[in-house]
């Protein structure tokens, strides 16, 4: 009967119930959308950067970090890689030779980091092969193939099979130039991949540079692995090298991640506080309006706990009605935008220079929907506690005599 009364009370003052229902629906919807977009913006970009560029862990010669002199190599890189790959939590590792130089087409020239990579191993660590738009991953060109980003290609005015010239200083301080042919064009939201890097074969670059081994080892870990454990292990095994996690290599990413979580908390808190006060206010009105009726119920012997429960039940019912609607709206919004993306190109001048892509794809985990729905229902519940308490505290005689 309590349930019946609470349920029917919802329909009794439809306007007010709609306000509560509306706030719950909008609360859930807003949170789902906010989480989705922030995820898309930050996590998407971070994932891109870490998975395709930085990797979880990088190893260098400590001197190379300070001064990009090509002679500061990691000794016995291949032996080390073979060893690392047997460690738990390590998915793949690869080595690279790096040198800063110039890339030139007949039209233009630009500064790049030339990365001598081993295609098969590199693909395992950074999935570089999956980013190829036009052309192919080091295929179709017999001598000196090169991969460059789409933006760089546009800047240089080159296409697949075009010739470019790389110029850099070799290990003997001689300026060296060599001709390469574009094998493929890389498409990525990352600024580095898009215009900062030129990928060539490890064997080509070591030959031209006159160095052995590698300047960099990149390690991909399994998901959810604490990278610092592997770093510590490496460091104790090879104290001469410098191992760092992505947090140290790209502190700005770590900062973004931190900002992202605190922004999310602030946002969630704001929505919840608004919800608590909205519901508190409306339910308090409902209680005040029914003061006499509630007084009568207690006068004839309805226990206070039941009165309390009745007022709470009303809000819980509205929450249970509102949650699926909010979730559905949120899900539809996510579904739509994950299909079409959100074109930020109108605002993306600034964004792209930070390495963001101009099309944003929101992303949300399924479990987040439930977390949000439950959080909102609990919030609604909290908002209803004070009005229910107010109802319980009223004295039947006084309530009945207020005319």
């Amino acid at each position: 009967m309590l349930i019946k009364i609470a349920w029917r009370n919802i329909w009794r003052s439809r306007g007010r119930s709609l306000v509560v229902l509306g706030s719950i629906v909008v609360g859930i919807w807003a949170l789902v959308a906010a989480v989705g977009f922030m995820n898309g913006f930050i996590v998407g970009y971070m994932a891109d950067s870490i998975n395709h560029d930085i990797s979880n862990i990088q190893i260098h010669n400590p001197e190379f970090k300070k001064d990009k002199e090509v002679n500061y190599i990691i000794t016995d890189a291949e032996t080390k890689i073979d060893k690392i790959q047997t460690w738990p939590g390590v998915k793949a590792a690869t080595s690279r030779v790096l040198v800063n130089g110039m890339i030139a087409s007949p039209k233009k020239a630009a500064g790049v980091q030339i990365r001598g990579i081993k295609p098969k191993e590199e693909a395992k660590v950074t999935q570089l092969d999956s980013l190829i738009g036009d052309g192919a991953y080091f295929e179709g060109i017999k001598r000196n193939p090169i991969l460059i980003g789409k933006k760089l290609a546009e800047k240089l005015g080159v296409k697949v099979k075009s010739k470019v010239v790389l110029t850099f200083t070799d290990s003997h301080q001689n300026l060296t130039s060599a001709a390469f042919r574009v094998a493929g064009i890389i498409e990525s939201s990352s600024l580095n991949l898009n215009e900062g890097y030129a990928f060539v074969l490890h064997s080509d670059l070591t030959r031209l540079l006159g160095v052995q081994d590698a300047h960099e080892i990149a390690i991909l870990t399994d998901p959810q692995v604490d990278e610092s454990i592997i770093v510590t292990k490496y460091q104790s095994e090879y104290p001469g090298d410098l191992a760092e996690t992505w947090r140290e290599i790209a502190p700005e990413l770590a900062l973004i991640q931190e900002m992202y979580s605190s922004m999310l908390y602030v946002l969630i808190t704001i929505v919840m506080i608004a919800l608590v006060f909205g519901i508190l206010n409306t339910m308090l009105m409902a209680v005040l309006e029914r003061f006499k009726e509630l007084g009568m119920l207690m006068a004839v012997g309805m226990a206070r706990i039941k009165v309390f429960g009745m007022v709470l039940l009303e809000t819980i019912f509205i929450g249970i009605l509102g949650a699926p609607i909010g979730l559905l709206l949120g899900w539809l919004t996510m579904f739509y935008y994950t299909q079409v993306g959100i074109d930020l190109s109108a605002y993306s001048e600034g964004l792209e220079s930070f390495g963001y892509s101009s099309i944003l794809y929101p992303y949300i985990e399924n479990s987040t929907y439930w977390t949000i729905a439950i959080a909102v229902i609990i919030t609604a519940f909290v908002g209803a506690v004070y009005p229910a308490w107010k109802a319980v505290k009223l004295k039947p005689v006084e309530a009945l005599h207020k005319i």
């Binding site: 009967m1 019946k4 009364i5 009726e293 119920l297 012997g301 005689v397 009945l400």
Partner: protein, 227 residues
């Protein structure tokens, strides 16, 4: 045997600011099966007395004994339970739960008492028939006239066969036809079921139907006559 015994009841409102002596040394005994009116002009203390007899309010001094329980000693929570199990109430207005049907309203007290559904249904229907509103069982209170609503309230108060029914000016909002109809029904239930009624009024037509009339003036009992 007396059902209610009120001994030396005093009630002072606003003790600390401007004291109002609503009841002065009131002594009353009500026996089982009585049909008693508490009468007197507005402000004489009728409502205050009924609230104290029904355990809705505490006297400033004195005690109320119902059956063999001194209800003036009970805690707030115990009083709610006591009212539920032993006393029926009819108020001047706002008696019914608007979102429940007539039938559900009558069953409400029995439901709080956790009586079985079969018993509730039978009793509620029987009472509604006796009140002449059996056809209104599935309607909401708002679809009923004021007189019909008060009959539903009486039915609800009687449903669980309480020790006594307290009714504070139950006819104050009713026209004369509804007033006498309600009084006739109360009198009938008093005779048929032996239900004990204590009701307040300042309406002469109602007073005429009572079998015992206790008159209050300025919070004092000035006469108590049986007829």
């Amino acid at each position: 045997m007396s059902v209610i015994k009120a001994e030396n009841i005093n009630k002072v409102y606003n003790e600390k600011t401007i004291p109002v002596h609503a009841l002065n040394d009131v002594n009353i005994e009500i026996a089982k099966g009585e049909f008693t009116a508490i009468v007197g002009p507005s402000g004489c203390g009728k409502t205050t007395l009924l609230n104290i007899l029904g355990g809705l309010d505490n006297p400033s001094s004195g005690k109320v004994i119902v059956g063999d329980t001194e209800i003036t000693k009970l805690s707030d929570a115990e009083l709610i339970d006591y009212r539920l199990k032993h006393i029926g109430f009819v108020f001047q207005a706002y008696n019914l739960i608007p979102v429940l049907t007539t039938m559900e309203n009558v069953e409400f007290i029995m439901l709080l008492q956790k009586r079985p559904k079969v018993e509730r249904d039978a009793r509620a229907m029987q009472l509604l028939e006796e009140m002449g509103i059996g056809d209104k069982a599935n309607q909401r209170p708002s679809q009923l006239s004021g007189g019909q609503q008060q009959r539903v309230a009486v039915a609800r108060a009687l449903a669980s066969k309480p020790e006594f029914v307290l009714a504070d000016e139950p006819t104050a909002n009713l026209d004369s036809t509804s007033t006498s109809a309600l009084l006739d029904i109360m009198a009938k239930m008093n005779e048929e079921e032996g239900a004990t009624f204590v009701f307040s009024t300042h309406d002469q037509r109602v007073i005429d139907k009572a079998r015992r009339v206790i008159t209050l003036e300025d919070g004092k009992v000035i006469s108590d006559e049986r007829r």
